[in-house]
Amino acid sequence: MLAELATTAATGHDRAQILWHVLDCPACQRDLAELARTADELLLLAPQQRPPEGFDLRVVRRIQDLTAARVPQRPATARWRRATIRRLFPRWDGPAPVPARTLRAARRALVGAMALILAAGIGAGTVLWRTAPDRQLADQYRHGLVVDDDQAPKSAPVTTDAGLVVGHVYLFPGTPAWILVALTAAPQPGGYTMSVVTTGGVRYGAGICQVSGQVGTAGYPLPVAVSQVASIEMTRPGIRLDVRP
């Protein structure tokens, strides 16, 4: 299965299973790194093609626009912060420090709509939204096997109120930091809304983990550094799961 991960051929659940094992297996880490390098080298075979005139100027202009958008060094308001993150991660619905009641209602409606679309499996855009961060996460992991200790991925169990372990969460440092949730024995199927609580007590929305049967995986960028994550909550009506990294 390492070859599937190295070539991005592994799907979400398989990918989570592989990562779960690889995290604790130095031999597989080495194998995965070598296979990934081999797979990436194949990209050199794609024929070169000159892009349309002015391509480089358009790229530089885009980067300059994004740089300019970063100029306000300190986000003055939650609205500014959300707008900036949405600009940087246009397909990601967050972060959202605990919003006003109206925003919560709107968010719940959006979450519900997304869950329906996901369950129906008919939203190509949703597939894009779900698979892109997942793939980027795996890619980041593939390329992040050789890291300093303080940059190493962290993992933590997902537990029920009764202390039963129902899955694991993996936190990957980087820019941005990433989170991968893998539930293997979820109490109920459906969408679990994830929230990240920082060491400073601020709560951010962190996406939804869709569970089919008892199994579900989801990958999202984190709105804060891994070191700032105090806990993660996963909730759906009547159920609350906790993670303490």
Binding site: M1, L35, R37, P52, F55, L57, A132, D139
Partner: protein, 183 residues
């Protein structure tokens, strides 16, 4: 050759427009070519290629030269961006034979400012052609086009286990052959 790829990438990450422009010009043909190979539509390929460079700028701090060359790192970013785009139109038919023929051809008509990269491409192409056809197709569809094992199985009308085996054996053989040639 002037400034190294690493140097230009660092300059781009630091906001140096000249470095960014030089970095883009140096790699734009490879990135656009890969994007066009995957998405098949020039306008979409340009958008994908632009996005790849923006992602490279954004994540430049995560690049580690110990893990591989800037070129392959950048192309992996471009592949991911292209896969994201093509997911919206997954019903587009793939023709692996055309693809295999294309990448199996000697790169005669192309020039490359970096002879070592051209040599790498020849070396990889030679190793790829040593694989059995089925494995070659599976590896290329997975590694370049980003198809999952299930998608390859559906496309090739084979059991998913067979698709996984072809990917695994093909990539392992490719790695072995490249290792032998590296020694």
């Amino acid at each position: 050759m002037g400034v190294t790829d690493d140097g230009l990438l660092a300059g781009m990450a630091a906001g140096d427009a000249q470095a960014a422009s030089a970095f883009v010009r140096r790699h734009q043909a490879r990135v656009f070519g890969l994007a066009l190979t995957i998405v098949g539509v020039p306008a979409v390929a340009e958008e994908v290629a632009q996005e790849a460079f923006v992602r490279a700028w954004r994540f430049a701090g995560a690049y580690d030269p110990r893990r591989g060359a800037v070129t392959t790192w950048l192309l992996a970013i471009a592949r991911n961006a292209a896969i994201d785009a093509v997911r919206l139109g997954r019903d587009r038919p793939y023709d692996p034979d055309v693809l295999i023929d294309m990448i199996s051809q000697v790169n005669d008509g192309q020039t490359d400012d970096y002879p070592e990269q051209l040599a790498d491409a020849h070396r990889i192409r030679a190793a790829l052609t040593q694989l059995p056809h089925d494995q070659r197709v599976a590896v290329v569809l997975a590694a370049i086009y980003g198809l999952t094992a299930r998608e390859i199985a559906e496309r090739e009308q084979i059991p998913i286990g067979t698709a996984k085996t072809r990917i695994r054996l093909g990539l392992a053989r490719l790695r072995s052959q490249l290792e032998v040639r590296d020694e």
